[in-house]
């Protein structure tokens, strides 16, 4: 069963279309990259999938549950890292994570154990009592990822999680997300406009001007567009007037 399915999902901001009939699937144990330039509709898609917006047309199914019918319960096994930072700067790392754990119904003991474990896994074990305001943006990002994993989600959504980070930090976060998919079986949907974050074997969905213009294994997308690299394929797919292959 796919972890996430969208069917003919559309959304408009006033008269301006943001998404048009977007259909995609995210499978468990796979790293799915949602690649698109700025303004392609990636954040809108994330907002629709997380119920921050409601789609006027189309459907979203999360782990077999229709999002409209199930409502907020459909988000019980979804972890989200939003594009904009969402940590409370005035609270400590542990307080931020404990707040999130409470929202997801974890008892204090379980929450404390998981906070320790997830922070350690991301190399942030020593930061529990530090105020978020004092941390670098890379550290904050890692804490947001640790937070998104506290309730053991089966679907992890990450919206441009590496924007503004240095290369080693970016690499570490990309590696961690790939490991979550490969080793823990988590379905990962990773929105990005950075081509070097995508690996050949990743499932790739290219979004441009609110439409899916290509999807499949990254290597296969490159082949289908007769390009020599993913960068070239992306340029061809998103060039003005281009048609999906």
């Amino acid at each position: 069963m796919p972890a996430l399915v969208t069917r003919d999902l559309s959304y408009r901001y006033g008269r301006r279309p943001a998404l048009e009939r977007v259909s995609l699937q995210v499978q468990p144990g796979r790293f799915t990259a949602l690649l698109g330039p700025n303004g392609a509709g990636k954040t809108t898609l994330f907002s629709l999938v997380t119920r921050l917006l409601e789609p006027p047309a189309g459907a979203v199914t999360i782990l077999g549950r229709d999002l409209v019918a199930a409502g907020s319960r459909a988000l019980a096994e979804v972890g989200v890292v939003f594009q904009l930072p969402t940590l409370d700067l005035d609270l400590t790392v542990a307080q931020n994570l404990a707040y999130f754990a409470a929202l997801h119904g974890l008892d204090r003991k379980t929450a404390a154990e998981r906070i320790d474990r997830e922070l350690a896994a991301l190399g942030m074990g020593g930061s529990r009592t530090e105020r978020v305001r004092t941390l670098s943006s890379g550290q904050r990002r890692r804490i947001e990822i640790a937070r998104a994993l506290l309730h053991r989600p089966r679907l992890l959504l990450l919206d441009e999680p590496t924007v503004g980070l240095d290369i080693p930090t970016r690499r570490g976060i990309v590696d961690h997300a790939h490991a979550l998919a490969a080793e823990a079986g988590v379905a990962v949907l990773w929105a990005t406009h950075l081509i070097d974050e995508i690996r050949d074997a990743d499932h790739l969905i290219v979004l441009d001007k609110g439409r899916v213009v290509a999807s499949g294994e990254a290597q296969a997308v490159v082949r289908r567009t007769a390009a020599s690299s993913l960068g070239e394929a992306f340029d061809k797919l998103t060039a003005p007037g281009s048609e999906a292959p």
Partner: protein, 268 residues
């Protein structure tokens, strides 16, 4: 299932209290504002404005005793608007997304936030009443307990108003407008600072406005409760206003309408 709701509520309340305790300036400002009114404004008006016998008072009272319940309500009014500011801040800083994507009904999450805000206002109110007591404003001892339900109800009503307003205020910078167009008119066109019969002597229009103002009824609910009496009309108006404001807030935070649809302008 109930335990999940309880844990979430506890988490939301704990976060609000932590934030409040870490913002010492906010606590001080919340206390200094009514104390200044009590020490300066009330002393100045004490000689000019005598307050005759009118329910719930059984005897003549001085002006500073009269405005104490109004200042309690003022603390709650400012706290409600502070919650509104905090929600706008959370929306801009992303914190609201964390709350609204939790796997619980949105009305429950918003109500939890509202109740947590009321809890914070109660800390401020009782701190003020303690200081006022030291300044000579002695209320019936049982009134300090009897006023609690009235404070919860009025705090919820004003908090719900703040929550509904937070959906209208798109940016933090626009919050000054709320101060000018909501807080001050509500405070000054009410019975918080002067009795309504005095207002009526000056202007019947203003008197009618004061009567329509739900804040007036919050003040009177608190005033009567402090003197161990129930003002049924005030209770009805405050409850009705709470239902209306809360419904407006929940509607505004509905993903298909209101705030989320209007303010989500990021199209990456």
């Amino acid at each position: 299932m109930i335990i999940r709701f309880w844990r979430a509520f506890r988490g939301v309340a704990w976060r609000e209290i932590l934030r409040f305790l870490q913002q010492r300036e906010r606590f001080l400002a919340a206390l200094i504002r009514p104390i200044l009114w009590l020490l300066i404004f009330a002393v100045g008006f004490r000689a000019a404005l005598g307050v005759s016998i009118a329910p719930p008072y059984a005897t003549y009272i001085t002006y500073d005793v009269y405005i104490a319940p109004g200042l309690v309500a003022m603390i709650q009014l400012f706290n409600g608007m502070q919650s509104s500011l905090s929600m706008v801040y959370d929306r801009e800083m992303g914190g609201m997304r964390v709350l609204l994507t939790a796997p619980l009904p949105r009305w429950f999450l918003l109500l939890s936030r509202l109740l947590a805000g009321v809890g914070v206002s109660l800390i401020q109110v009782y701190a003020f009443l303690l200081i006022a007591w030291f300044l000579g404003i002695e209320l019936p001892l049982a009134g300090y307990v009897a006023v609690l339900p009235a404070l919860v109800l009025s705090g919820l009503m004003l908090g719900a108003l703040g929550m509904a307003l937070s959906s209208i205020v798109r940016q933090l910078e626009n919050f000054a407008g709320v101060m000018n167009f909501v807080i001050f008119p509500m405070l000054f066109a009410s019975s918080a600072l002067y009795p309504l019969w005095k207002v009526q002597e000056s202007s019947d229009v203003l008197y009618q406005l004061c009567r329509l103002n739900p804040f007036t009824h919050a003040v009177e609910l608190i005033r009567f409760a402090l003197y161990l009496q129930l003002n049924g009309a005030a209770l009805a108006v405050v409850t009705g206003a709470l239902v209306v404001f809360l419904a407006a807030a929940i509607w505004a935070y509905d993903p298909a309408r209101g705030l989320m649809a209007r303010n989500a302008a990021v199209v990456d």
